[in-house]
Symmetry: D3
Subunit: 305 residues, 6 copies
């Protein structure tokens, strides 16, 4: 107990409440209908059980009982996902309760669960790509079980699906969770093709309007970012333009390369070397490196020693 | 149960205990008065509820009940913060119990809570800066609710306040927690002005003696680091010197730039390009890029194929 | 509850189950004997208590009671470690139950616990190296208690020991946990000498076949990676070759440097500058930097304004 | 895992589902809007904090901070109590959603919280009566803190208040919880006066239509029950009649006495002896015992020994 | 921390360990294969969900999803029940591992789950009997949801089924759990017919060899116990004899009656009055009461006052 | 959220706070130093692990590791017990902090732990007595593992030891916990000899000044209570007198017997029959029953039917 605080408790309380009244941007007093971040992260865990039975969740799954496991999971996920989507829709609509949002959220949750087999198909290709692309990978199990790059891609594919179904806020909460867990920031609005692999996933940024083809592989520290934000004649950022690059099929980008700009197209089959800084398009089937800056090697030993 | 181990249990136990006796640096046997890392992270969560009511913590907050919510939170935070500050002061003083530390910790906790409205003001500007600076940001709510860069800055501002109040160890535990959660390592001793924004916060390092003005924006992978550690004539590191750079107002630093050195001043309004390596001062209102290394593009297709 | 989903529950369940039957790579139905990731992370926490008594775990440890604390911890760790090693061995052997794996796992757990004093010795040197190498470090306590780089190295040393004892999967689960917690990805197969320190540990990658001598210090963003994967005449990756660089004793590598290739040897005492891209060997006792690319500074102010 | 069960899983599942369809009394499929027993027991714990601050709940309560503690508790209790009362009203009305029930539940929760000071007054008298009536009681603190008889009376007074406010089901859930915890079954509909004490509270039953005056004290094993259930000419139990006895002021009833019948009035100041079986009224200021049945004492020693 | 204890820690530890060596009855060192009481109580909770869907467990159960709920519950219960039955069988067989016990436990768990519909049928009759027999009962829901007598009977019926399937120890752990929760001690070996109701269930004891017909109703405090334990000529208790009474159909026993003896048969339709002590058989269709002991009522008022 | 409550929140808060100021007996505002009931119940669980290793607590206990298990448990129990004893002593002394209480509590905790072997010896005899005295008991394991009567006696023996060591409040909290769990209320001040057994432990009360010899066995519903409370000439209860009966060695008391009075001595070897009401001494080696009240058996069948 802090007795010093006791004496000034009323005063500090009043001061803080006054600060709430002073700035409506940073409080949600009286209309707090934000979704629950914790529930959304729990949902990701349950969806992962649905995607990879036996890897995650209960171990006693067999041919005979798998239907019940799936059905029961669907009911749990369906209920909670509907609830959280509803919260997100209400939050965007600035309404505490809204009947159309209720219907819409039920529809979205159903549509999402319909798409689970497609997600599984996409993620199987991603896992295979990781295994094929990493000499250190011992098995596909290892990829699914402990590769952070695979986790980040899984969360992205879930979030992207919800983003395309029109859910606000939640997809971003999901990808920022994966960002925190893996250091890999993939915006849910990015478009990423099949068989995608991020090795050593750390420090990777893939921006909102990026377009990535099939069979692409990138390494740690790669940024696919915006070069600048085009503005209209009155100085306002023009929305809806592509600000981030396009990577065609089978592109490989090595560690710490930075590729910027909505006009930048990395052609099919291109290999981009490590630490390269690219702001212009590259034609297909070529290898890009920076002109190696001359390394300067100076001996530390002084003459005569 | 491991029966093999059972047989050698006495021997291994003795061996490990001998290893404790052999190295006092790596054990706290008999004088373990370290603060609790878990409690400190819990405190951060409670302080966040105080800073952004309705965003975090209970949802049923209204104009009528907010005072009680705030007062009760203050009592909880006040008690635990006093306790943990006390642990930190005792740890530094190498004493298990100490009356002056007791008084001092109560004073520090009170002073910290007095400063909550100021923290709110600073963070509102940071949130606005993030919204203004990121075309992908849909609302200020989204920034406060799920931007890791904003989280890292919030934790820094809390830790920096405690650092300035003279609390040892705890501020660093806080910023290292945020480092783990976001990949953004801001030392609590850094000085950062108003309206600060870190986009895609990953792989960012801001060193202990960095000075940052108002309206600064930085991207992922930026290091504001030390160039070298000046030593005195006897080869010992000279303490108290500025080892990290100064950024004046309205500076923007793009992804993966590295700016080093305590003498390096980036002038007001400067824009530093991505992947730039800067170790000297830059005059105000200029744009700095590296001379673009010539990209070398070689076709993978062999002639005749 | 989602009533819309209720109507299509049977259909979606069937569809998802069909998708399981369609791809055996991404499910473990009927043979789910993977180790438990959560248990393995718990084990790391208990091993940390064993390594640094009084820092972590119960606080009331004294000269008189430390033996009991250690013995009881050994029993707990010994049992659970044996269990999880057994799961890993069975998983690799593709068998649900296996007597030789049972014996082997007990032996491995015993051997690991035997090595705790050695681990303590190695980690004491690492902690000292961190304290000596970082002007911002206030004490060795601070290093052990909250430096993420030290945590990543501790997890690596535990995982590497288990890797050398022949445990599959678990070492990687451990280092990927540390990767998630610190943004530092050290493969358990890497060989790292004494007194190793990673400052601002974020975005660091140390590949599987890296060899690091004593007294090495690296900063954030450093990659010790593969240049390319040598293939045999039939295009298959040749296994067992060194793909990652060798760092001899007392090498220092500054932030964001990238060093690639199994033939690349950084000689004793070399200092590699920040943002350097190195793919060839460097002789001992030299300092390597890139030829500084000419910074281009352009004034933003237009003439006449 | 039970492999035998796996083979018959579909069959058993079908059989159990058929059994649900066969008996609607024992399932709530499709209309499950029962209140939560766990939540109601939690509410009791929070109400107890409100009634006896410093005894239960946080310890750091002072004159200065008590208001905030109370206000914050009121908000929590108010919200959850409203919710659970609403569930109970809906359950009784056989409706999943109902606007009048919503309004009514808010009113009831407010009315209940208004009555807290009255409850405190009544319970202070009960605690004093326990202390005065039990030579083994060391202090009033001991009574409030650990006497099960006091706990049962507290729960009864809370439940009785809610019963009088028209809440269905919940009061009974509360008293049955106390029944389980203390072996004391007081129906929420009973009417009990001031300064009531149950010593060694175990095996006590106080029926629905019991009326108890002020200053009454009873011991373990006492039943205040129904003699028989009067029926109308068609053999149906007549509802609304008093089936249980009346105890006027200052009655004392010793252990294991059984008092039955709605016409039975135990007059003011009467003492009823242990193990007495009473089915008729007793005039005031008298002592009632059974004619002591002659004890039969036979020696176990055989003659000649 | 207790420093006084620290000094004598070795001595006390040795003393206690010596005490273990001294008495093997009260320790299970080296062969601890007891079942888990906590797991068994959890199992009861899950079985209750299976018996009364919508009353207990998740609320969102519908006609469409109930199959999945049931199937998934069966898998969970089946696995854990098999495990705990196995522990009980091994414990009885004094073996840590035993293959026949493994098969037997799987069979028992399957057989038990097969009997769930029968259990439901029996419990529906019990619930109806409670509702019919208690004027205070508002609905069958209230009986199932909060009547401790019904809970005790439910646990008994589950435990009795397992007892008849040959499971040692576990049935008793179950009924003793119900004993603790409700004050009602029904031995799992008792035989109880249909439509059984215990009102105000507290202080009730029903012994191991009791036989109870259909439609029986008993009140609080009733003991159905042993009169004495018949011994053979060498003074040893003769096992396997009926030691407890037989109650034929439609018997009613009021509060605190004690009925003892294996030869005592309470005939069909008999009503036994409260506080009666019965050790001999009663013919059918009669009412039994004790000859009411004359109540002695003495005025407390002294003459002349 | 309850909006109705929101409007009257200030008013109700004030009203409740006024009620606190109005009655100091029922609040501990500003001096809340009560022990923690939850911690004390946890302590009981840990002490039980110490008393019966392998029955409760971790299962992997062997001859080799038992010392460590015991030593580590002693440290945990020693620390927490000291803390809670300290709280109890401070509470009694009405002081928030007190140095002599600190020393005393450490001494008491040490003394208690010294007595564990004695407790084990006593409890082994109790367990044997239960097994010998109950034909339904299958093994001593069953008694220790699930007999509530044995649990109540164990808690009593622990509490009695602490009571004799001079600890206030805590012993009562312990026995009231057992009272709640088993319906058996044994005051910690009672004196109970060796080989004590309570069968079907429910509804049992053993008062504060009861004295019980060796080899005593009692059944459910037995009260060993006070007849009346002797008062001095000024009408105040005389403290320190024996108010409850004395039972000499080898007494057996059947169900629901009530024995009252501090002068009542039940002689060695006496058997007291069920439902007997005894308020006078009984000579040794005799059997006591009530003169059986004549059972009145009336046929329910009306003549002519």
């Amino acid at each position: 107990m802090n007795e010093m605080l006791n004496g000034s408790l009323d005063r500090i309380t009043n001061k803080i409440c006054a600060s709430y009244r002073g700035d409506a941007r940073t409080q949600h007093i009286g209309h707090a209908f934000l979704p629950s971040g914790d529930k959304i992260v729990e949902l990701l865990g349950q969806i992962r059980q649905l995607l990879f039975p036996g890897f995650f969740g209960p171990k006693e799954i067999t041919e005979q009982n798998v239907r019940y496991h799936v059905g029961a999971l669907l009911v749990r996920i369906g209920g909670e996902l509907t609830e959280q989507v509803y919260n997100c829709l209400c939050h965007e609509a600035q309404k505490a309760q809204d009947a159309p949002c209720r219907t819409q959220s039920a529809q979205i949750a159903s549509d999402f669960l319909e798409s689970v087999p497609e997600l599984r198909e996409a993620l199987a290709l991603d896992a295979q790509a990781a295994y094929d692309g990493d000499p250190a990978a011992k098995s596909i199990d290892e990829v699914i079980y402990c590769y952070p790059g695979f986790y980040a891609v899984m969360v992205y594919r879930i979030a992207n699906r919800l983003h395309r179904l029109g859910v606000p806020l939640m997809p971003r909460i999901m990808t920022e969770h994966a960002h925190g867990a893996t250091g890999t920031d993939i915006h849910p609005g990015a478009q990423i093709g099949r068989s995608f692999f991020i090795d050593h996933a750390t420090g990777v940024v893939i921006g909102e309007t990026t377009r990535i083809g099939d069979g692409v592989k990138i390494y740690q520290g790669v940024t696919l970012g915006a070069l600048s934000f085009p503005k209209d004649e009155r100085g306002r950022v023009i929305k809806g333009l592509q600000r981030h690059p396009t990577l065609e099929d089978n592109v490989t980008i090595y560690a710490n390369a930075t590729i910027l700009g909505g006009q930048t197209v990395i052609g099919r089959g291109v290999t981009v070397g490590g630490n390269t800084f690219v702001t212009e398009s590259i034609t297909a089937d070529s290898t890009v490196t920076s002109e190696a800056p001359q390394l300067q090697v100076r001996s530390k030993k002084k003459a005569g020693h």
